[in-house]
């Protein structure tokens, strides 16, 4: 009987540890803890169905449904925070692990268990003790190659899309009044090299500010110190590179 409790106990420990780390960490550590917590959540549902391969898809689906229902309940209660979400998922995971363990240990349930969620399962899968058939090394190799190729394809695609996107981006110039001040700034797209700009601000035909040799690197933003406006006269802002106008604003 003790043997039957080892797996749920170990999984419960992982769930509790993941929850604890998640609540106090940030960055990659938090990401790893979240992956572990969500992994045990799917695993707990999968174990409900004796961890058969065919039950993996439905387990993922039920985890999605669980995420929606838990999220909805927490949002309705105004409690959508990291700690509460993690606690709700962790509690659901522990409940699923121990409910399946307790139910499977009863004599009447053990024979009918395999057909509970997954009716077309082979009868042998009803028993936890049934030795799992190891997948063929060719199948495992194929899966690894698929995963690697997919990761490479997505990475390559992301890199090419980012490069194309950067190349197609334009420098941006802005100047908007905030009270009696004017906020002026420039953004240089990531795909274009560093540049040196001259920025001129005029109001009612009078130059009120000039910045020479404003250096902006790829993907960088430059913001001028706020300029005090004099009355309501129309302002013009122009950014020059050499003798040509890169962008201009009027109004």
């Amino acid at each position: 009987m003790m043997h039957g409790y080892r797996l749920p106990a170990a999984c419960s420990a992982v769930t509790v540890a993941a929850f604890g780390v998640l609540c106090v960490s940030a960055g990659p550590v938090r990401l790893a803890a979240a992956a572990m917590l969500l992994g045990t959540f799917v695993g707990a549902i999968w174990f409900l169905d004796r961890a058969q391969f065919a039950a993996l898809g439905p387990a993922v689906g039920l985890a999605l449904a669980g995420l929606i229902l838990i999220g909805l309940a927490l949002a309705a209660a105004g409690a959508l925070t990291i700690d509460v979400i993690a606690a709700a998922i962790g509690a659901s995971t522990l409940a699923a692990f121990w409910a399946s363990t307790a139910w499977a240990s009863t004599a009447w349930a053990s024979t009918a268990w395999a057909s509970a969620l997954h009716p077309a399962a082979p009868a042998a899968a009803a028993e936890w003790s049934t030795r799992r058939k190891l997948p063929s090394p060719f199948a495992v190799g194929g899966a690894v190659i698929f995963a690697t190729a997919a990761a490479c394809a997505v990475h390559y695609s992301a890199a090419s899309a980012t490069a194309d996107s950067d190349q197609a981006s334009s420098p941006a110039l802005w100047a908007y009044p905030a009270g009696d001040r004017l906020d002026v700034g420039v953004l240089q797209p990531a795909g274009q090299g560093s540049t040196s700009l001259r920025i001129v601000v005029t109001q009612a035909g009078v130059t009120i500010a000039v910045w020479k040799d404003v250096r902006v690197g790829p993907g960088q933003t430059w913001e001028a110190p706020p300029i005090a406006l004099r009355g309501d006269g129309p302002t013009q802002v122009a950014a020059f590179r050499g003798g040509s106008v890169v962008a201009s604003l009027s109004g």
Binding site: A34, L64, L69, G71, L72, I85, A116, V154, A172
Partner: protein, 622 residues
């Protein structure tokens, strides 16, 4: 009964006995499965290359696209249709096939959301993350805000992992695709009793025009439909027996998650369960003594939950779906009574490039094959000793036939197209049952079955997405840009940071997608808030009509996309409900340059072809 027995026998082909033969069989199965998965990987790489070439304006993308699809489809189809693999191996191949086709959408644009509805759902998730409150205002598609299932799942994932909405959306959609393929495979396997038929069903379902892109996008239907099929799978039993309590609870959980996630899927699921309960009740009355499961409790629970949600939370659904459906019905009736079509099939609607003739031929061929095969399939299903739900699903494919005429109408085309992902469940089940009887017999019949499924698949891909947008778009094309550009995205982020969220903005719909989602601005439109933004843009000067509309819609900012000057006449530029007289004429340059020449507007941002004007004085919404 005899037919059912025959299906069961061919579905589980005998495997050679003895240790050596057993090892050989395992070895061969591993090689077949591994090869199919490797081919899936190769296919995804080819698709990524096709999109990269298209994005940079290079040639050859089209060939790579079809080569990638062939690499994904053919090896998987050979294993699923022709080989004698076990149930687990077939399921693994089907899952690899489904995931590889999902990745076709991912490599299309792997850095940000691309399709229209994705921006609307981004806004929902963004609203929820910012406020923690349900039902936030969504100016892009208001109705989606009242179906927060996808948004809460995304919110939970974003908060837990710290990843972006985009990355979490990709993960959720990948899980949804995995669920869809697994649930469909297991459902057909359970009902027909044949893993081979289940594999055929997955291949045929993947031919539905919305499988490749539409149902892979970050949108509520993409997650709701898999859960609906999963809910039906949990209840289905081979001889119509009663499922376990655990199965009923699991089914109810999946179905209840559908209700707050997507309106049409929830209605369709309620209809299927109610229809199943009614048909099972009639069958039980006819065959006294038989124990046929009546899904009365799940049907009642889901139908009630859907009705309550519609009435109490999302009554907006009626005004959202109503016009689309009524337009379809009206034009369908006109088609029957007057024999008048309002749409030409495969017509070029202003795109620079058109699909090659062979794609049109494949689309027509695939449709004709389904039309020809369905009567035989339904006859066999009717005669076979199959559970009530199997027959119900199979006969639901008749809806697809009935909706075909709507494709000849401009108003009904959307309805016909958007129903594909639902009615193809029935088509997949019917054709799987029919083709299953082919697959156990001679080699040429098996090859014919492969050819039929390949034609249906190619036809489905051919009509899946507008040809000119089937591969990733080139950002540098400026002929009335068909996508949200990097400049749009940069502007949206700047507006959110500099001006804050919730400003009322008049702009064109594409620029509005970025501003309404990433920028969290309130973009104005006739459908969502009654604004007539075209009255601001079309006049060549700032006249009384412009000023009146600025005041009426309380516009704070006008965002101008100068590339619209190159947009071809004939399609709406600023709003779907703008008068045809405006959209059918060329847009004069003065219509867009007037903002820079009037004292009513102050230009505050310029980048490439984008200009932002703040509305000042009494004309503005501030």
């Amino acid at each position: 009964m005899a037919q059912y027995a025959a299906v069961t026998q061919t579905a589980h082909p005998p495997v050679a006995t003895g240790a050596a033969a057993g090892w050989q069989a395992v070895h061969a199965a591993g090689v077949a499965l591994g090869s199919a998965l490797v081919a899936d990987g190769v296919g995804v790489v080819l698709l990524a290359m096709a999109d990269a070439r298209s994005r940079s304006g290079a040639s050859g993308g089209y060939l790579l696209f079809w080569a990638g699809l062939a690499a994904i489809f053919l090896p998987s189809a050979c294993v699923l249709l022709l080989s004698r693999r076990s149930r687990e191996e077939r399921l693994a191949v089907a899952l690899g096939f489904g995931l590889a086709l999902y990745l076709a959408k991912v490599v299309y644009e792997p850095t940000m959301f691309t399709f229209h509805d994705e921006f609307a759902h981004y806004r929902n998730a963004s609203n929820l993350l910012a406020s923690g409150q349900l039902f936030g205002y969504n100016p892009l598609i208001r109705a989606t805000g009242y179906y927060p299932g996808l948004a809460v799942a995304t919110d939970a994932l974003v908060r837990l992992t710290g990843l972006s909405i985009y990355t979490c959306g990709l993960i959720l959609m990948g899980c949804a695709r995995l669920t869809l393929v697994a649930a469909l495979f297991l459902l057909v396997d359970e009902l027909v009793g044949s893993p081979r038929a289940a594999g055929v069903a997955v291949l045929v379902y993947a031919a539905n025009p919305n499988f490749l892109y539409w149902d892979a996008q970050y949108a509520y239907e993409s997650i709701a439909l898999p859960l609906a099929i999963l809910a039906v799978f949990f209840l289905a039993r081979r001889k119509g027996q009663r499922p376990s309590r655990l199965a009923i609870v699991s089914s109810s959980a999946a179905a209840l998650a559908v209700v707050p996630t997507h309106h049409i899927t929830a209605l369709a699921l309620a209809a299927v369960l109610l229809g199943w309960a009614a048909a099972a009740w009639l069958s039980r009355r006819r065959a006294r003594g038989m124990t046929i499961y009546l899904p009365v409790v799940p049907a009642t629970v889901i139908a009630s939950a859907t009705a309550v949600w519609l009435a109490a939370v999302a009554p907006i659904t009626v005004s959202y779906l109503g016009p689309v459906l009524s337009r379809a019905v009206t034009q369908g009736i006109q088609l029957i009574v007057d024999h008048q079509t309002s749409r030409t099939l495969f017509a070029n609607t202003g795109q620079a490039v058109t699909a090659p003739g062979w794609e049109d031929a494949a689309a027509i061929g695939g449709t004709l094959v389904i039309l020809a095969a369905l009567p035989f399939a339904l006859y066999r299903v009717w005669r076979a000793d199959l559970p009530v739900i199997a027959k119900l699903l199979a006969f639901s494919s008749v809806a697809w036939v009935l909706l075909i005429p709507l494709r000849f109408t401009s108003g009904g085309q959307e309805t016909a197209n958007r129903s594909s992902e639902f009615v193809y469940v029935g088509i997949a089940a019917s054709l799987a049952f029919l083709l299953e009887s082919f697959l156990g017999s001679s080699r040429w019949k098996r090859m014919s079955a492969l050819g039929i499924v390949a034609l249906i698949f190619a036809g489905g891909i051919a009509v899946s997405w507008n040809f000119s947008q089937r591969l990733a778009p080139d950002y540098r094309l400026t002929n009335g840009s068909a996508v949200v550009t990097p400049d749009d995205d940069a502007l949206a982020r700047w507006m959110l940071a500099a001006l804050g969220p919730g400003n009322r903005i008049a702009t064109d719909p594409l620029t509005g997608l970025a501003l309404g989602s990433v920028g969290r601005q309130n973009v104005l439109s006739a459908a969502e808030n009654g604004a007539r933004v075209w009255q601001i843009f079309y006049p060549p000067g700032v006249d009384g009509q412009v000023l009146a509309q600025l005041r009426q819609s309380r516009v704070q900012y006008v965002v101008v996309q100068l590339d619209l000057l190159d947009s071809p006449p004939g399609s709406a530029r600023f709003d779907d409900s703008e008068p045809a007289a405006d959209s059918d004429a060329a847009l004069p340059a003065a219509a867009l340059s007037k903002f820079g020449e009037s004292a009513v507007f102050r230009e505050i941002y310029a980048a490439g072809s984008l200009r932002v004007y703040r509305v000042v004085g009494s004309a503005g919404g501030t």
